[in-house]
Amino acid sequence: MAIFGLWVINKAGGLVYQRNFADGLAQLTSNEYLVLAGTLHGIHAITSRLSPMGSSSGAQVIEGESFKMTILLTATATKFVLLTSLAELNPENTLQKVYEIYSDAVMKNPFHTPEMPIRSEGFDTRITTLIGSGQ
């Protein structure tokens, strides 16, 4: 049971927040993370159009042999992505709490520009309290 990383992707597909919490993830440069986030944004857009039963909110969980990726799409099209181990209990719940912190510490902060990278101390601190210290 471990949480490896958290991404926040804005509605244009840009990575606005990325943080690792546990060892085990490949070391990537910030550019590579940007590319991955953009790709995930595209994949998510495709999955949202594949539904046979009308409209869909797109992929929510992508699972591999050793890890799981849980995606929360908000009403404003911001995506929260949590990379966890397979055994992680209830990552959806964690993401919901991250969303809550985001709306408190980022959206109510007058020094944050919407759709731009998140550089808010309050957000960092509260994410650390929620998930644990990272890098």
């Binding site: 109510k108 902060n109 007058p110 020094f111």
Partner: protein
């Protein structure tokens, strides 16, 4: 039909705004054409909801303290307010001064409302003429009226006889604000400082009030409101002693 309607509206407007309608150029009349419709539509939208649902803010009784306001709505409004101000200033001092001015406008209203309520509630309403009781009422009553809880402490400066401090460990205003590192001098509680300044001014204790971040490990957003009294206040205090 299509011609007469704009014509009639233009003539109505021209009699009210200018003496002769002939001087109106076509461009002016076309811009004025949209004017009469603006005041009518919002009225039509607002009137049924305000009269049917609940009385407007002007019709509610003043004596009763208003029910709690949504903290989220307040912080969003405050955030917009800071952003709006920040776009129009050059530098931190200017920003703090503007926030102070905005708070001042609230403070003068708060004082008036509090005095009005105190007069209605107590049999022998009293006006504070000494500074310390006035400071206590700012610490307790003003804070409770504005933020819903009293402030956390009052201190007197050891070095300067004219300086007093009100301390708030977790001010509502700063709760969701993370000031960037390059502006670390900024304290958005300048807004609160403005409120305090207005109340003290209104009570007859002119002072210069500023806000300062004084974080501790336990309270990272602890804020000190520094009150620097004018000389005349201290002199009067001496006389009243």
């Amino acid at each position: 039909m299509s011609y007469q309607q704009p014509h009639s509206r233009v003539s109505v407007l021209s009699t009210s705004s200018t003496s002769s309608g002939e001087h109106l150029s076509p461009a002016a009349s076309s811009t004025r054409f949209s004017l009469p419709s603006i005041p009518t539509t919002p009225n039509a939208l607002v009137r049924p909801s305000s009269s049917a649902a609940r009385p407007s803010i002007y019709d509610r009784p003043l004596t009763k303290p208003r029910p709690d306001v949504s903290a989220a709505a307040f912080t969003f409004l405050l955030s917009e307010l800071v952003q709006y101000t920040q776009k129009r200033v050059s530098g931190i001092n200017d920003l703090e001064r503007r926030l102070n001015t905005l708070g001042y406008r609230i403070g003068s209203r708060v004082l008036e409302l509090m005095a009005w309520r105190a007069e209605g509630a107590s049999k022998a309403p009293k006006r504070e003429i000494r500074f310390l009781p006035a400071l206590m009422s700012v610490h307790t009553q003003v804070w409770r009226a504005v933020f819903g809880k009293p402030a956390d402490g009052i201190e007197k400066s050891v070095e300067n006889a004219d300086e007093y401090m009100i301390i708030d460990n977790d001010p509502l205003i700063e709760r969701y604000i993370s000031v960037p590192k390059d502006m670390s001098q900024l304290s958005c509680s300048s807004f609160t400082a403005g409120i305090v300044e207005a109340v003290l001014d209104g009570l007859g204790f002119p002072a210069r009030v500023t806000a300062h971040n004084t974080p501790t490990t336990q309270f990272p957003s602890r804020t000190t409101i520094l009150i620097k009294l004018e000389k005349s206040v201290l002199e009067r205090e001496e006389v009243l002693k």
